[in-house]
């Protein structure tokens, strides 16, 4: 009767099994440093232009939107703190993660999916290489290191975007007041959740991408399906996780 529950539970179980084995593999040799460096380059350096652009414009649009609302309360001078808090706590981590999920989560799923359907994963196992060690571990480490760094960069250029709108464009506040407010209002609590979130999102993006890639079946059509699933599932989990983390930090 409850047969319809079987596939999602099975998927959940397989996903945690993959995650568990990958984490258990972290200290184990070989570490494939070259692969980690290459993935860091693809995920980190490769995503930089789009993260810079998105971060900048999200900060700018935030300042624009807030300018009217804050003016109603005569609090235009607070624009720096509003932009800083929104970016560091929420927009920076979530937007960056969604971009990386779309760009790299899909890339991971399609690359591993293609390898699966062309029997390269089987070949790897037949030649004595553990695909979790060689393919999943480097992608997990690279994403977990690069996503928090990308988020910090996105937060910073977002603040610059907000500054350009608030100070030179709309003259809502002075330069020193904007940066002072932005700096003063940020607490360790904000910084912690602003860095914890991208770290958890990175784990989700890398593992979901690898999971859907490694279970690909059905030729090239299957690769397309795996790629779409990886992006959709990772995006949903990013939103679910951000709500859970925010709920915990709001109570702290």
């Amino acid at each position: 009767m409850l047969d319809f529950l079987k596939p999602p539970i099975q998927t959940f179980q397989d996903f945690f099994f993959l995650g568990g084995r990958t984490v258990a593999n972290l200290p184990r040799r070989p570490h494939y440093g070259d692969d980690i460096a290459m993935q860091m380059d693809i995920i980190g350096v490769g995503s930089l232009p789009i993260v810079l652009l998105t971060g900048f414009f999200s900060g700018a649009v935030m300042a624009l939107q807030m300018s009217r609302a804050l003016a109603q309360y005569g609090a235009s001078g607070q624009v720096g703190s509003i932009v800083a808090i929104t970016l560091v706590r929420e927009l920076g981590p979530v937007l960056t993660a969604l971009l990386v999920a779309g760009r790299n989560g899909s890339g991971i799923a399609s690359e591993l999916g293609s390898m699966k359907v062309t029997e390269q994963i089987d070949a790897m196992r037949a030649l004595g290489t553990d695909p979790l060690q060689k393919l999943v571990k480097p992608r997990l480490i690279a994403t977990a290191v690069m996503l928090p760094l990308l988020t910090i960069i996105a937060d910073f250029v977002g603040l610059i975007g907000g500054y350009l709108v608030a100070v030179p464009l709309l003259s809502l506040t002075t330069s020193s007041q904007y940066w002072n407010n932005a700096y003063r209002l940020l607490e360790y609590n904000d910084i912690t959740q602003g860095l914890l979130k991208p770290f958890l999102f990175a784990i989700i993006i890398a593992l979901v991408g690898c999971y859907y890639g490694l279970r690909t079946t059905g030729g090239t059509q299957g690769v397309g399906r795996a790629t779409t699933q990886a992006v959709v599932v990772a995006s949903i989990w990013i939103f679910v996780t951000t709500v859970l983390i925010t709920r915990i930090f709001v109570n702290l």
């Binding site: 359907v117 062309t118 029997e119 390269q120 030649l127 004595g128 553990d130």
Partner: protein, 269 residues
């Protein structure tokens, strides 16, 4: 073939199922040292699954598989690596790594499986690529080669470690007859020069007949028909699978004299 010759690979009542589909259904089969086994069957008859289960790439749901005398069904993935290092396998899709050039592809098992000293790797790679007549492609990537050439790279990678057992999954699938014959000539050459035990999965009886009736002459560098005792020395056994079940096991003559309509489809060219 004398039954006292050591079995290299032994399937004992093996069943493999994917969800509700039984891909391999209670198959028992023994492949002995020096023997060639030709596994025939229609698409979806379980040939590839059976071949992959031989080295634990696919786990069986029941039964036992002995590889070099060791039951692999009780071993975990890492414990299987030393056994897999003694087996060369050619995949139907090639399984050649897209991200590596041909030299690194062929060197992969030398570096990662048998851990050959780095100084000896280039010589061994060149020698093996010469064996498959692809020594001019060292720097190329798989995407730059034709289907037949990629298959030959796959063969080079399978045999570069001089394995005791070679598994070939549909080595001639999707190739033109001339390239298919070149590939089969390579398999016979590998078997006869290195005395490798060979298991080949195919749906083409012609491939099996080449393996059963030809031998490699090192003096002329050509294949020539094996006659009399030479043919008996080749020890080729034919197996036919149907819907995951083993429906025939015997010699080429027995295969051709079978009256079963399914089996006789494979027996005739």
């Amino acid at each position: 073939m004398a039954s006292n010759v050591t079995p290299v690979l032994e399937f004992k009542d093996v069943t493999v199922a994917f969800d509700a589909n039984t891909a391999v259904d209670h198959i028992s089969l023994t492949v002995r040292q020096g023997q060639s086994a030709v596994i025939l069957g229609a698409a979806g008859s379980g040939k590839t699954t059976l071949l992959k289960s031989a080295i634990g790439l696919v786990r069986c749901d029941s039964g036992h598989i002995d590889l070099f005398g060791q039951d692999i069904t009780v071993l975990d993935e890492h414990a299987l690596y030393p056994l897999r290092a003694q087996v060369g396998i050619l995949f139907q899709e090639g399984g050649v790594f897209d991200s590596l050039n041909i030299e690194d592809n062929v060197a992969y098992p030398l570096r990662n499986t048998i851990h050959l000293p780095e100084g000896e790797v280039p010589g061994r790679v060149l020698e093996t690529l010469r064996f498959v007549e692809l020594e001019h492609t060292l720097e190329k990537y798989p995407s730059e080669l034709s289907g037949g050439m990629r298959r030959r790279v796959g063969i080079a990678r399978a045999v570069v470690t001089e394995p005791r057992l070679c598994l070939y999954d549909s080595p001639t699938a999707g190739l033109d007859p001339i390239t298919a014959n070149t590939i089969m000539a390579l398999l016979v050459k590998e078997r006869d020069l290195k005395k490798t035990t060979t298991v080949m999965v195919t749906h083409r009886i012609q491939d099996g007949q080449i393996l059963a009736n030809f031998r490699y002459n090192p003096e002329t560098g050509q294949l020539e028909p094996a006659a009399g005792s030479q043919k008996a020395d080749l020890h080729t056994v034919f197996v036919v699978l149907r819907d995951g079940r083993l429906v025939f096991e015997g010699s080429e003559e027995e295969l051709q004299s079978s009256s079963d309509p399914y089996i006789s489809k494979f027996a005739r060219r």
